[in-house]
């Protein structure tokens, strides 16, 4: 059984159909890259998997370990192990990162019927995780993403990914707004979290990111569909010839 299975997904936003029958199969341990031009529906796919309000699913299915994901509330999906690294992580003034992560982790544990983790135990855990990712402790004390640079925001996403230990991570345009050094640091963080049990779906516009996070499978999206799938060499091919060749295929 696939870990994540998207079957013939059709999605509308305000009467306009964005995804017209998209299918995708992701197995544990695999890293999938989804590439495509602006407006091809990449971000819509990530939002629908995570359960963001405002999208209407008019057809198809998303199964997570065989369970109907679309029937679950977004926080339920999170507790089951679906993680979305945001393209634009939000700022939450007055709430320390430490506090936010503790509340979120406990909410997930509670939903899974596990014991809540105490403040001292959590503090120890989060410090260890931060250390392993070379994230300064100081970041934990600051308001969630408040005054963070683009790179810091992305590292905060990776920190959360490491802490929550999700089964599937969707990385939405992780490279946007990052210079090359920040990109490398973020990619190193993601690579450290690759494991035989965990799958990743890397959504990106540019091939550049895939030099650092090397995918097993590459999908090309155009106009709301996957028009071609292949190995990592497909990304390089795209880099050479651009997306135009797929416009007609869609």
């Amino acid at each position: 059984m696939s870990l994540l299975e998207v079957k013939d997904l059709q999605v509308r936003v305000e009467e306009r159909e964005i995804l017209h029958g998209l299918s995708l199969n992701v197995n544990p341990g695999e890293v999938h890259a989804i590439m495509g031009p602006n407006g091809s529906g990449k971000s819509t796919l990530s939002h629908v998997i995570a359960g963001k309000p405002g999208y209407e699913v008019t057809g198809g299915q998303i199964l997570f370990r065989g369970e109907d994901l679309l029937e679950m509330d977004p926080n339920e999906r999170a507790a089951k192990g679906v993680f979305l690294a945001f393209q634009y992580p939000v700022e939450i003034p007055g709430v320390t990162t430490w506090n936010f992560l503790h509340a979120a982790l406990n909410a997930q544990r509670k939903a899974r019927g596990e014991d809540e983790i105490s403040s001292p135990a959590f503090l120890k855990k989060v410090r260890e995780v931060a250390k392993s990712l070379n994230i300064p402790q100081d970041m934990l004390k600051r308001g969630v993403n408040v005054g963070f640079s683009g790179g810091e925001k992305k590292r905060n996403e990776i920190l959360q990914m490491a802490l929550f230990e999700p089964a599937v991570c969707i990385l939405d345009e992780m490279d946007s707004g990052l210079d090359i050094d920040a990109l490398r640091i973020a990619a190193d963080g993601v690579n450290a979290l690759r494991s035989p049990e965990r799958a990743m779906v890397v959504i990106t516009h540019y091939q550049r990111l895939l030099n650092y996070i090397v995918p097993d499978v590459v999908h090309v999206m155009s106009k709301g569909r996957v028009v071609k799938s292949g190995g990592k060499e497909l990304a390089l091919e795209l880099e050479e010839s651009g997306y135009a060749q797929f416009e007609d295929a869609a």
């Binding site: 926080n75 634009y88 939000v90 939450i92 007055g94």
Partner: protein, 498 residues
């Protein structure tokens, strides 16, 4: 359903059931005849065994009140109050002098237990974990004065306070036992002629707390008064007077609740604070009067006059308030910065939900040289409520070097509520520096989704964002109350009882 929409729906569904303190205590009580007249005033004064000067003071206020009209400038709307349809005095029976806590009616003790207020003299254990890097938990003592309807039923830790020289007692007792102090200070901050509700209070106030901290004394514990309205159709008119003599310090907290009733009840209190040279008073309020039901029926009219006078040089008065209750709030805790180098602070969280109306803020009156003030106001409006900040900052001609910083932030939840900011600024001295910042924001869809994607429920997400919004003010509260206030804020905004 979009996340914000869902929150709005939940907030809309909030019903009276959510008010945790809405129960009524079945006790016999001793009431004055309904309505207000000179006889009512005489009745109350006689009940309290007051000296003639006190009765005269009350009667003067009463006569003055007859000539006044109710103010209408606040952004609140309510049907005309029939002042003859209110009981002005209600006391739990039997009325006798109590020598120890064990003589209090067990029903009343139970009431306070239910409310979580310790009347027995036990040290309160902080039941919370210290924040990372924060100080370890310590046992702390809090002296409590409990006011039930019109009378004070218990004051704890009297002996220990006495040893430190601190006077903390019901004001009715202070009038008899320390007339010289009461006469010297009562009505000097809020004169009997001050405003309609304060004048009414002056005529009919029944009890409240009196605090005197002698020179150089740092009050050894937090002082606290807990107000409870129980009787039907009863107004509560408490009067609090706190004097911090030269170089002294005291921290004081008041809490309030009332049963759920369909009719509106009037609460018109007066609080006067006086700080002499180098003294400091920190006054915190957690106000949770019954706000009315989901149709806007019932609830407390909270028309309160609170004012502090920094009479001495280098003195300081700090107001912190967390306002979550009452159908209508009309309240402006203020500071008169009379002494040179004196400073005033106002930290406020005002939350309105359902049909609540809040018109609250502060006045910082700079009279002395180099006086400074700071105003941090956080208004949160949800449901169909209206939330107004109204504040005055003024510098007198002689207030050279006066400084003020004001920040008013409003947070809206849903689209049927309103937030308003009405600042008044008057500077008659050209060296005054006044800063004013104001923001209004909504909890955005994106922020909520981010939190929910991390596993938090809708309600937890709203609670988290709101608590972040009010953090600057919560930090001003004593630790235990900050935790309590945080819970209260979540309860006020959530669809379920905590």
């Amino acid at each position: 359903m979009p996340a914000v929409q869902e929150t709005v729906e939940r907030v809309r569904r909030i019903d009276v059931d959510q008010y945790r303190y809405g129960f009524e205590t079945q006790i016999e009580s001793d009431k004055a005849p309904k309505g207000l007249s000179e006889d009512t005033v005489r009745f109350i004064s006689a009940k309290k065994n007051e000296p003639p000067w006190m009765l005269e003071w009350r009667l003067e206020a009463y006569r003055r009140w007859l000539t006044m009209t109710e103010p209408t400038w606040a952004r609140v709307d309510y049907p005309k109050i029939d002042y003859q349809d209110i009981y002005y005095y209600a006391a739990p029976k039997p009325k006798k002098t109590l020598s120890s806590i064990d003589e209090i009616d067990p029903e009343i003790l139970k009431t306070y237990e239910k409310l979580g207020i310790p009347l027995r003299e036990v040290a309160i254990l902080e039941g919370v974990e210290p924040p990372p890097g924060g100080p370890p938990s310590a046992n702390r003592k809090i002296a409590v004065d409990a006011v039930f309807d019109s009378v004070s039923v218990a004051t704890t830790f009297q002996k220990e306070l006495k040893a430190a020289g601190v006077i903390f007692m019901p004001i009715s007792e202070a009038i008899r036992e320390h007339p010289e102090l009461v006469q010297k200070y009562l009505g000097t901050v809020v004169p009997t002629s001050d405003n309609y509700f304060a004048t009414l209070n002056s005529a009919v106030f029944s009890d409240g707390s009196f605090v005197y901290v002698p020179p150089g004394v740092r009050c050894p514990m937090e002082l606290s008064t807990y107000f409870r309205i129980n009787e039907r159709n009863t107004g509560q008119f408490e009067r609090t007077l706190i004097i911090a003599d030269k170089g002294s310090y005291v921290s004081y907290l008041e809490g309030c609740t009332a049963p759920q009733r369909d009719e509106n009840q009037l609460h018109a209190a007066v609080v006067e604070l006086v700080t002499l040279d180098d003294a400091e008073i920190k006054y915190s309020t957690v106000q949770n009067w019954y706000p009315g039901n989901s149709e806007g029926k019932g609830g407390i009219y909270n028309f309160v006059t609170k004012r502090g006078d920094c009479r001495g040089k280098n003195s300081k008065i700090s107001w912190t308030q967390v306002e979550t209750g009452s159908a209508i709030t009309w309240k402006y805790p203020s500071c008169i910065l009379r002494g040179d180098n004196s400073s005033g602070e106002f930290y406020s969280i005002a939350i309105s939900n359902g049909f609540q109306q809040v018109d609250s803020g502060t006045k910082m009156i700079h009279l002395g040289k180099n006086t400074s003030s700071r105003i941090i106001s956080k208004g949160i409006a949800a449901g169909k409520s209206q939330n107004t900040y109204r504040g005055l900052v003024s510098a007198h001609r002689k207030a050279t070097g006066a400084r003020n910083y004001t920040a008013c932030d409003s947070l809206l939840i849903g689209d049927k509520c309103g937030a308003h900011t009405v600042p008044y600024v008057e500077a008659k001295n050209s060296s005054a520096t006044f800063e004013h910042e104001a923001t209004t924001s909504k909890i955005s869809e994106d922020v909520l989704f981010y939190c929910i994607q991390r596993g938090l429920s809708q309600e937890e997400a709203v609670g988290l964002v709101v608590n972040g919004f009010v953090k600057d003010v919560l930090q001003q509260l004593p630790m235990e109350f900050a935790v309590e206030a945080q819970k209260l804020i979540s309860i006020s905004l959530e669809g379920s009882v905590g």
